[in-house]
């Protein structure tokens, strides 16, 4: 009897969230895929209908034969989209590298901080993450504007004569991404560095390594899981970022998240925006899989570690 109850409970515990995610996460992707292969129509919704289940298998077969790759051909033929994809990948790559450069010394310092101070430092890194993303991006507009606070500061210090044009350039986007995603990089780095056995570095130093050699040969390789996790956590969302390029970038900045948004809200071309989303997802499949394997490995290590 109890075993039966236990089996039913188990099934429910798994099925409820599983079913929810299937319906609200996986199926929507299949719909995106389907619509990306339909043709645009002047109607509401503005595309030819998805499968009509009521007419049975024959209808599904004929629907399958209607699938077209025209939208993908259109994407490949228009340099606008190709450039947007390439520049998104490039901007995300540069920003990830910059984030790593700033986050590593910070996480390293935190891991070496006195033990009593560490929880507070971690808390201070997480805290900005709780404030709205939109607000944090908005804060930079006032700072980076030509007559903004950063230029006022530099002018009053006599560093520059003319205000720097930073807002509405790629530099503003780099700053925005680094700023918004810094906690995502610092935390995995910190947890990798904090766990590290410092006697290894000491051994390297005793055996004649200079501190810099010891860092590159011992500390950095051991912190690689943190580096990888942090870089993926920054890179993947940055590729599809919308708010940062829209508010900080210029009119000529092409990023795919923004292109998709404009295609959808401006041109109301649902099939093309779906195709844009599918290609973006394909570009990100490899990094996302890497992220999931890293997560699963960490999960397993934690489970076996205890």
């Amino acid at each position: 009897m109890q075993r039966a109850i236990s089996a039913v409970t188990r099934r429910l515990v798994i099925l409820i969230p599983y079913g929810w995610l299937l319906f609200f996460f996986l199926i929507p992707f299949l719909i995106v895929l389907r619509i990306s292969m339909s043709t645009s129509a002047v109607a509401m919704p503005p595309y030819t209908p998805v499968f009509d289940w009521s007419e049975g298998w024959a209808r599904i077969r004929s629907a399958l034969s209607e699938l077209s790759f025209d939208n993908y051909v259109w994407l490949a033929g228009d340099p606008l989209y190709l450039n947007a994809y390439l520049s998104s990948l490039w901007i995300a790559l540069v920003s990830t590298a910059l984030t790593l450069l700033i986050a590593y010394p910070m996480a390293y310092g935190m891991a070496k901080a006195p033990t009593t101070l560490r929880p507070t430092l971690v808390m201070l890194v997480i805290l900005p993450f709780w404030t709205s993303f939109l607000i944090r991006v908005y804060a930079w507009i006032g700072i980076l504007k030509p007559e903004g606070l950063f230029n006022q500061f530099l002018l009053s210090m006599g560093v520059i004569r003319e205000p720097l044009i930073i807002l509405n350039t790629n530099w503003a986007i780099y700053i925005g991404i680094v700023y918004c995603y810094l906690p995502f990089m610092v935390l995995p780095l910190y947890s990798a560095l904090e766990k590290m056995d410092h006697s290894l570095t000491e051994a390297a130093l005793d055996l004649g390594c200079t501190p810099i050699q010891a860092f590159w040969r011992v500390t950095f390789p051991l912190s690689l899981p943190g580096v990888i996790a942090g870089c993926l956590l920054v890179f993947i969302p940055a590729v599809g970022e919308f708010v940062i390029p829209d508010l900080l970038g210029g009119s000529e900045t092409l990023m795919i998240g923004r292109t998709l948004w404009n295609e959808f809200n401006g041109n109301r071309d649902w099939p093309v925006s779906s195709a844009v989303a599918v290609v973006l997802l394909l570009l990100l499949v490899v990094p996302i899989m890497l992220f999931q394997t890293a997560q699963a490995r960490a999960e397993r290590a934690e489970r076996e570690g205890r």
């Binding site: 109890q2 599983y18 929507p28 944090r136 606070l149 993947i236 970022e241 959808f264 999960e299």
Partner: protein
């Protein structure tokens, strides 16, 4: 363990200055008298006064609050169930797909999630509005809750659960009487995380929402596009204040709970020890 060098301190200080300066400046300039946001002319709270008369903004805040509470609560239940399935049932069919669906939304670009949600709602013929935003937020925040709760379940001493089951508790009773009290701090912080994510979201809400359900970030975004104004600084300051208070209270509550738990455990241990050493006469006689 190496010493905390000057370089370490400097890199932390620079990092934190970078993280906090923009927010501090935003808050400071919300009290600026001038309409020109970047020129300081004097202290004033007049921009906060004008907010209270902005009906569209207040409506949006109310929508956001309701969506946040509803979706965070649903996401906490679903996310906790998902965390239980992942950490308690290590083998079941489709587990890889399941854990994939938990981790993917954490990094998925919001434009993709938003678009796919919208197309689902259109395909099933649901009118877009308050409820569709709530459903969309529930879906993407439940994954964050699942991850938070799962990490707590991972470091959980399973023998107490097994003991409860051996003593005849049903799985449901075991969960409510043994597991839930222990993981409650993680469940609560999952709720808070889901709530703030929902409060914060612009992109998914814009896709999933329809007429009559404009959330606060959507309202702020449409004003921000027109430029920096002290009113927006004032709204942002209020939001930052609310979040800061929430985080502070949550931190204090968890700390208090943790201390209480440690005290209780110590007391129980001490009592058990003293009983073992001098058994009370009734027990000894029996």
């Amino acid at each position: 363990m190496g010493r905390w060098s000057r370089f370490n301190v400097a890199s932390i200080a620079i990092g934190f200055a970078f993280l906090y300066l923009p927010i501090v400046l935003l808050v400071v300039y919300s009290f600026n008298e001038s309409r020109l946001v970047t020129v300081w002319t004097g202290f004033s709270t007049k921009w906060y006064g004008t907010l209270l008369t902005n009906q569209a903004l207040l409506d949006a805040a109310w929508v956001t609050l309701r969506v946040g509470v509803l979706s965070a609560s649903a996401a906490t239940v679903l996310g906790t169930l998902a965390a239980l399935s992942l950490s308690r049932y290590s083998e079941f069919r489709g587990r890889t797909l399941f854990s994939g669906m938990i981790y993917a939304p954490l990094v998925m670009p919001e434009v993709i999630t938003g678009l796919s949600m919208l197309l689902l709602f259109v395909a099933v013929g649901l009118d877009r509005g308050f409820w569709t935003v709530t459903l969309a937020h529930t879906t993407f925040t439940m994954c964050f809750v699942a991850v938070v709760v799962q990490s707590r379940l991972q470091s959980f001493d399973r023998s107490i659960e097994e003991a409860a089951m051996d003593l005849g508790a049903t799985p449901v009773a075991t969960f409510f009487q043994v597991t839930l009290p222990v993981i409650l701090p993680a469940v609560l912080s999952g709720w808070v995380l889901a709530f703030t994510l929902s409060l914060d979201d612009l992109v998914i809400a814009s896709f999933a929402s329809g007429p009559g359900a404009t959330t606060l970030p959507m309202r702020i975004y449409s004003q921000v596009r027109l430029g920096v104004t002290p009113e927006i600084n004032a709204i942002c300051t209020i939001l930052i204040g609310i979040v800061a208070c929430g985080v502070l209270i949550a931190a204090l509550v968890t700390r208090r709970r943790e201390l209480q738990r440690q005290r209780d455990e110590r007391a129980a241990f001490a009592e058990g020890m003293s009983r073992a050493i001098n058994p009370p006469p009734a027990a000894a006689g029996g």
